[in-house]
């Protein structure tokens, strides 16, 4: 179903439409279709059938996209996993999904002990040939006729599992199509769109840009090699990239480079999407000065409901503290702890429904996550009179400072960038005096540790924060650990640096 919309429908009008780039060579939509047909037929011969699960242990590469599309064609369910995953996580996913095989392409030295059949996927880009375990797959001309509906499951995306075991988010063909359609329509992707993929495609943030690009007949360039700001800038300029999605840390690294150098390299960028973590108003304005030809979009979403809210920063310059309005088909509400809908301008938990939203987890029933057709996000926020959502933070991250409830993201947004501070994060820590329950703490990486004092940080905080939000501890740290999706890992930060 999704495969037809992304690939097959494009071939009828233009057989040589570029789809996937490798430097200055490309595979057309027709080439991709032929390669997918060959791979799908071979996978059928491995006794895979509709509804089976297949683990994708594939690094960002053309092979990832081709394999994913081939599984869509067969109605086989993809289970993507980060190619740097631990043995324990791989074992868990194999067992949990009862996966039949693993398809892999990795380039690190880690040897995995895999208990089910595994096959290496390799593409000869120039020859337009796909190989499975070094076997060149024969050209197939017969179409595969497996009936797939929009209600069939396309993928199970496992969350990074910051609390407990990873949870498998079931996304149907309908969910993926709606997310892709929302991204491309709200952000005005055109058929000239040329996407640079820098985020891992095994996560929702990175993957959803691929179908969004294919829907509009755009083309894709995948960042290759070790990730660096120099490399990103070089790729953008060399391949005339028009759009990309990034998490804040990479953009903050770009903001640290000489402004003229960045400006010179990013002239072709028309669409920049930021997601997954908070980004302050000042930082957005700084990016606008660098990405002069681009419209910057901020999204709020989670794997369960990708890009549920999107902010068009050009269109709504006075709403930069929000994460925008509902995407097409999305309905949202703010509820209190008893699931009562709250009026506008009241803070509470964000609940969502819509065509792109999952309805359940794989092999797991979570009563507190789904109710009356709504997804309970576990995130807190406020919706204003104009329908714009301000994201306050994760329920798990909420700080309870002697009865004052607030979120680290709120504090970070209010504080914004601080002179002399490379980066910082706010988190609630246990009040060792036992009075307040929790107190806010700042974990700070200074620009120049020898000439920096905690006092400077507090002076800044006092200027912009109400008293209960001012960090009671300011802890100097060498770096902030990140999660696999590029967000600051607050829990690990506290574990590493806060001695209780």
């Amino acid at each position: 179903m999704l495969y037809e919309k992304l690939i097959l429908s494009k071939i009828k009008n233009n057989s040589d439409l570029p789809c996937l780039w490798l430097e200055n060579d490309y595979l057309s939509y027709e080439n991709i279709n032929n390669i997918c047909l060959n791979l799908s037929n071979e996978l059928l011969s491995l006794n895979l059938s509709k509804g089976d699960r297949v683990i994708l242990l594939i690094k960002n590469s053309p092979e990832y996209i081709i394999t994913f599309l081939s599984l869509l064609k067969l109605g086989v369910i993809a289970v993507p996993i980060d190619h740097n995953s631990s043995q324990d996580r791989i074992n868990y996913l194999i067992e949990n999904t009862n996966a039949k095989i693993i398809l892999y392409k990795i380039d690190n030295k880690i040897e995995y002990d895999i208990s089910i059949p595994k096959y290496e996927i390799k593409l000869d880009f120039l020859e337009k040939q796909i190989f499975l375990d070094n076997k060149k797959l024969a050209q197939k001309n017969s179409e595969i006729n497996i009936e797939i509906t929009e209600e069939d499951t396309a993928v199970i995306m496992f969350s990074s599992g910051s609390s407990g075991r990873p949870k498998g988010v079931i996304l149907k063909h309908r969910n993926l199509f709606q997310s892709a359609s929302n991204v491309s329509s709200v952000m005005n992707f055109s058929d000239k769109h040329k996407e640079l993929v820098i985020n891992p495609m095994c996560h929702s943030g990175g993957w959803q840009r691929i179908p969004a690009t294919l829907i509009v007949n755009g083309s894709i360039h995948i960042y290759d090699g070790l990730l660096s700001t120099i490399g990103i800038l070089e790729d953008i300029k060399k391949y005339e990239i028009t759009g990309f999605f990034s998490t804040p840390p990479i953009l903050r690294a770009l903001l640290n480079i000489k402004k003229d150098t960045v400006c010179e390299n990013v002239k072709s960028i028309k669409i920049l999407e930021i997601g997954s973590a908070s980004f302050s108003e000042v930082e957005i304005e700084n990016l606008q000065k660098i990405f002069k030809n681009a419209n910057i979009f901020i999204h709020y979403g989670l794997t369960e409901s990708s890009r549920a809210f999107i902010l068009d920063t050009n269109k709504y310059p006075n709403k930069l503290k929000t994460v925008g309005k509902e995407s097409p088909t999305v309905k949202s509400q703010i509820v209190d702890e008893n699931f009562n809908f709250l009026p506008k301008n009241n803070s509470g938990q964000i609940i969502i429904k819509g065509n792109q939203t999952t309805e359940n987890y794989w092999n797991l029933y979570e009563e507190e996550k789904f109710r009356d057709g709504w997804l309970l996000t576990g995130d807190y926020g406020v919706i204003d009179d104009d329908g714009f959502l301000t994201y306050l933070g994760r329920k798990d991250d909420m700080i309870n400072f002697g009865g004052f409830h607030f979120f680290p993201d709120e504090v970070e947004k209010e504080l914004g960038p601080i002179e002399g501070v490379k980066k910082y994060t706010i988190s609630g820590v246990k009040d060792l005096k036992g009075v307040m329950g929790q107190v806010p703490a700042a974990f700070v990486v200074p620009e120049d540790p020898d000439n920096w004092t905690q006092k400077n940080f507090i002076i800044n905080a006092k200027k912009s924060l109400p008293s209960h939000m001012i960090p009671r501890h300011v802890i100097q740290v060498p770096d902030l650990p990140l999660t696999s999706s590029g967000k600051v890992d607050r829990k690990n930060t506290v574990l590493l640096y806060y001695k209780q």
């Binding site: 690190n108 030295k109 990730l227 660096s228 490399g231 070089e234 690294a253 640290n256 990140l482 590029g486």
Partner: protein
């Protein structure tokens, strides 16, 4: 500057700025697979090398050979000076 001085500077940066309690950092510790916790390890290391040694790192030089371990980065820097 000799190779040991370069190595000590980089080692000190990696230990202080990117601590990793799971591994010991020696000349041959596999940085890409063991030491760096995420892709930002490379980004931050490149920024440090450019500032500390006043060099310019090009895209083609950011590869698994030059950034494999402390020894290979130090040799790479020495050749750039």
């Amino acid at each position: 500057m000799n190779i040991d001085e370069i190595k000590n500077k980089i080692k000190s940066f990696l230990i202080n700025e990117m601590p990793n309690n799971d591994f010991e950092l020696n000349d041959s510790t596999d940085l890409l697979n063991e030491w760096f916790l995420d892709s930002f390890g490379i980004i931050n290391t490149i920024m440090f090398l450019e500032t500390e040694f006043s060099i310019s790192v090009s895209r083609s030089e950011i590869n698994g050979d030059n950034f494999a371990n402390l020894n290979s980065i130090s040799v790479y820097i020495l050749n750039k000076l």
